[in-house]
């Protein structure tokens, strides 16, 4: 496999769609990359949603590799029962750093603030967000808060775990908890601002004819995510403020010795952090819906159900936080209620898996890299979801909560599913964003490597979790070593898989083949503008006349051998921008 650029191999019965077309030449001119100016300030002061998306992309990539480096060190340390590299304190600080960075500075913002920011206005036919300046502000707030926390994590170190449980975090920890909490508190405002902006944009700026039920599922995903963001994040902010108040001023909130209640924090924290799981997975579901439809060249199966499922997940997701606290001493009756609701919230997720699968039925399926990621997502998300049902069952949860079983479960959802979807989306929209094609062979190779590396890393953790290996152990009993060695070896493979795209994307930026406006021959307004899009997206605001994913007018895929031309039933039937 050589590092050559081949055009995307999605659907495309349209030969024109492959490779460079003269009309698209020199894409780096006359696009948002150059139009707003080339100075540093033209970027740092930009209010163009596309440039802001790039700013976010750069920042979260840095955080991803920082958090990833911590994970790699953790896994190397755990090759032997007594730990290879660090003291226990250092180990504790490392897993805290990994968790805090990955959750708040990578996973929560990942898809919404990069792909979401870039695509939302394009997908609904708008020229920018509803509040472009607030959009920029939320990036500054994000970077400011994140830097505070990262300073705390790197300079002094924080040893509480990303969950900040008191009274350990408020009274017993001697580490830089306050500064870290302040940073996360600040970053929360960025989430809230982004959420408000997305919701306002979707409500106000849809192009004429873009009815609610014509929105691409990615837009619906952003909408549901934003709702969760603005409703849940304030609760996180509150609980962090309370931590700071108790830590700095000794206010009696969580300290049982002076009348406080440590469980109060856990309720507040999980009231945010369970919905936060959906902040991380709903956008991924949106991305997968886009990729699967274009790869199968079919209308998504059960569009309306897909929308209702996302809304149901967002709503019911607020009522299940107690499943994190089955062994905390909650009443067994409360545990039953939370257990029941956790089963209920799994239904819409299952429906989505069935619908994606059914979308493939009678398709014209191709397997470009984005589809490889989407198929990986499907498998890993299903495993993550089903082990979630086990954890929703109280007796099983009592045994495996706070063990590696839980670690494996949430990595299947948050890394296996969310991060796969993020990579899938990045490849899918890469030509649109950069105007260049990525090297397809390398991209597929990375996707496959990521899938196997991931399973290699995390599957053994299910087994060792059921055997009783507790999480957050700097050292462990020798009987678990074989599983740890497997997991750590897998992690090395995974690390390589995550580094690969960094190189071939960088390569593609310079040497990649020039991308046409619609390399995948996909529907969706974002594909009707040049790649990369001009600064103002649309010369003329489009008029939408079709439902999304109209890959073929009659709802069936074309028979073999027929040649299909755009505008004749295949491909987007939208008024092209002129």
């Amino acid at each position: 496999m050589s590092l050559t650029t081949t055009p995307g191999e999605f659907p495309t019965a349209d030969p024109d769609a492959k490779g460079a077309r003269p009309a698209d030449g020199a894409p780096m001119q006359q696009s948002f990359w150059t139009d707003g100016g080339q100075t540093v300030w033209s970027w740092l002061g930009t209010v163009d949603h596309k440039r802001i998306a790039i700013l976010y992309a750069i920042s979260i990539t840095a955080f991803f590799f920082l958090g990833g480096a911590a994970a790699a060190l953790i896994r190397i340390h755990l090759f032997t029962p007594h730990g290879l590299l660090f003291s226990r304190d250092t180990y504790n600080k490392l897993f805290t750093l990994h968790g805090v960075i990955m959750v708040w500075f990578f996973l929560v913002p990942s898809i919404p603030s990069t792909l979401g920011n870039f695509l939302l206005p394009l997908m609904i036919g708008a020229r920018d967000m509803a509040f472009p300046k607030i959009n920029l502000l939320s990036w500054y707030v994000f970077v400011g808060g994140a830097l505070l926390t990262v300073i705390a994590l790197l300079a002094g170190g924080v040893d509480t775990g990303w969950t900040f449980y008191p009274p350990f975090s408020t009274i017993y920890s001697n580490s830089a908890v306050t500064l870290a909490a302040v940073g996360v508190f600040v970053v929360g405002f960025s989430s809230i601002l982004t959420g408000i902006n997305f919701i306002a944009t979707i409500h106000l700026l849809r192009a004429p004819g873009m009815k609610w039920f014509r929105l691409p599922l990615f837009v619906w995903a952003m909408y549901a995510t934003s709702m969760v963001m603005i409703l849940a994040t304030p609760v996180l902010s509150t609980s962090l403020l309370l931590i700071i108040a108790e830590r700095l001023f000794g206010m009696p909130i969580f300290d049982a010795r002076i009348g406080g209640d440590p469980l109060l924090f856990q309720h507040l924290f999980w009231f945010y952090s369970h919905p936060a799981v959906y902040i991380m997975i709903l956008p991924a579901m949106g991305v997968i819906s886009e990729i699967v439809t274009v790869a199968a060249r079919r209308k998504v199966f059960g569009y309306a159900f897909m929308v209702y499922a996302m809304i149901a997940i967002a709503v019911v997701g607020f009522m299940v936080w107690g499943h994190h606290m089955f062994v905390s001493g909650m009443s067994p009756y409360a545990a039953l209620v939370f257990s029941f609701l956790s089963f209920v919230v799994a239904v819409p997720s299952a429906i989505k898996v069935f619908n994606w699968t059914a979308t493939l039925y009678r398709g014209q399926i191709t397997f470009a890299a984005p589809m490889m990621y989407a198929l990986g997502f499907l498998g890993l998300f299903t495993i993550g979801g089903l082990t979630g049902l086990m954890l929703a069952s109280v007796p099983i949860d009592v045994h495996v909560t706070d063990t590696y079983f839980v670690v494996a479960h949430f990595h299947y959802i948050m890394v296996g599913a969310s991060v796969s979807a993020f990579f899938g989306g990045l490849h899918y929209w890469w030509p649109k964003i950069t105007g260049r094609l990525y090297p397809e062979g390398w991209a597929r190779f990375a996707a496959i490597l990521m899938f196997f590396g991931f399973n290699f890393t995390f599957f053994p953790q299910f087994i060792m979790g059921y055997l009783g290996m507790p999480r957050r152990y700097a050292e462990y009993p020798a009987e678990f070593q074989l599983y740890h060695v497997m997991s750590s070896t897998g992690a090395m493979v995974l690390a390589v898989a995550y580094l690969l795209p960094l190189f071939y994307f960088a390569y593609s930026l310079r040497f990649g083949e020039v991308a046409p406006a619609n390399p995948w021959n996909a529907t969706g307004l974002e594909w009707t503008v040049p790649s990369p899009p001009p600064k103002h997206n649309f010369d003329q605001i489009p008029h939408v006349e079709n439902d999304p994913y109209e890959y073929h007018a009659q709802g069936h895929a074309p028979e073999h051998g027929k040649s299909i031309h755009r505008g004749q039933g295949d491909g987007p039937v939208r008024t092209p921008p002129t």
Partner: protein, 317 residues
């Protein structure tokens, strides 16, 4: 168990068998669902790959709607059934049987202390007989810990300022690892211990050879006198102006702010270390806090003593 590749944890308690059954049930279901999804995806991917000669007719709108509603409802009822099956099997296990042996556990960074009713104390170890339900009444001296014995499939967080409970009934003699499962700071991974399960006769013999000054309630009685509780609480005390403590455990009391409270271990604990938190109605708030004078193990003994006091010893006024 050490070395090699263990693939399944020992079952040393009747409930661990139940938990494993549930687990395998769900595992079977999961494998079936995964196989279903994966085989559909594979079959569709091969059959409907681009350019294949498979037939691709229209998909009537009705079919897709019926399918959709069908599998939504099916999934819902399947999950409902699983929930019912899982939950009904554990309803009986909520509360320890009344005849359970009561053992106190005190967690602190980074060790476990256990106190038997006989007065025997252990560190990072717990000896227990087979066939006898054992109720663990646990509290922490500092941060949150979690008492985890994989062989019993049993885990319970241990919190400061309150008592949490769990129980087990071991059925297989042996030595089983005890872990702290809630992250608690530097040596969290060293907060280990073992549960030694013995036949009742062996347990009796073991208890007999332990140095035991006094049983737990007896140790509490010593503390009661040395701390001078009686000066206010005993009818004969010099400062007698406080409620009698005989037969208090398990009763409802009126508090000065109008609430009613059940006197359980947590109530007694708070009455001694935070007396103003649940002040009893009808008495002056003169009771001092003993938070500094007594540690959690002492409190366990003192509470055991209070629980042992008969109602007529002084009588409730």
């Amino acid at each position: 168990m050490r070395g090699g590749l263990p693939i399944f944890p020992v079952e040393a308690d009747a409930r661990s068998v139940v938990t494993d059954h549930l687990f395998f049930g769900l595992l079977g279901l999961s494998v079936a669902i995964i196989l279903l999804v994966v085989s559909l995806v594979v079959v569709f991917s091969v059959r409907y790959r681009r350019g294949s000669s498979a037939k691709r007719g229209e998909l009537p709108e009705i079919v897709s709607k019926e399918f959709e509603i069908g599998w939504t409802v099916a999934t819902f009822f399947l999950f409902l059934f699983v929930f019912w099956w899982v939950s009904s099997s554990q309803l009986s296990g909520f509360k320890a049987p009344a005849n359970a042996l009561e053992i106190h556990v005190v967690a602190k960074q980074w060790m476990w202390k256990t106190q038997h009713p006989s007065g025997v104390r252990e560190i990072n170890a717990l000896h227990a007989p087979t066939g006898v339900p054992v109720r663990l009444v646990m509290t922490s001296q500092d941060v949150i810990h979690s008492f985890y014995v994989p062989a019993f499939r049993m885990k319970q967080d241990v919190l400061p300022g309150r008592y949490t409970e769990t129980w087990f009934k071991a059925n297989r003699p042996g030595t089983y690892p005890l872990y702290c499962a809630e992250y608690c700071g530097t040596d969290h991974s060293q907060m280990l211990g073992e549960v030694v399960v013995m036949r009742p006769a062996d347990y009796g013999r073991w208890t007999a050879v332990q140095p035991q000054p006094n049983d737990l309630a007896g140790q509490g009685g010593v503390l009661y006198r040395s701390l001078g509780c009686g000066s206010c609480h005993d009818a004969a005390g010099p400062n007698h102006n406080a409620p009698s403590l005989g037969g208090l455990y398990g009763q409802q009391v009126m508090l000065s702010d109008g609430r009613r409270a059940l006197v359980d271990e947590t109530f007694l604990h708070q009455a001694i270390v935070q007396p103003d938190r649940n002040a009893v109605a009808g008495y002056p708030a003169t009771m001092p806090s003993y938070a500094k004078a007594i540690d959690e193990e002492g409190l366990n003994a003192l509470i055991a003593y209070l629980k042992s006091l008969p109602a007529h010893a002084g009588g409730r006024s």
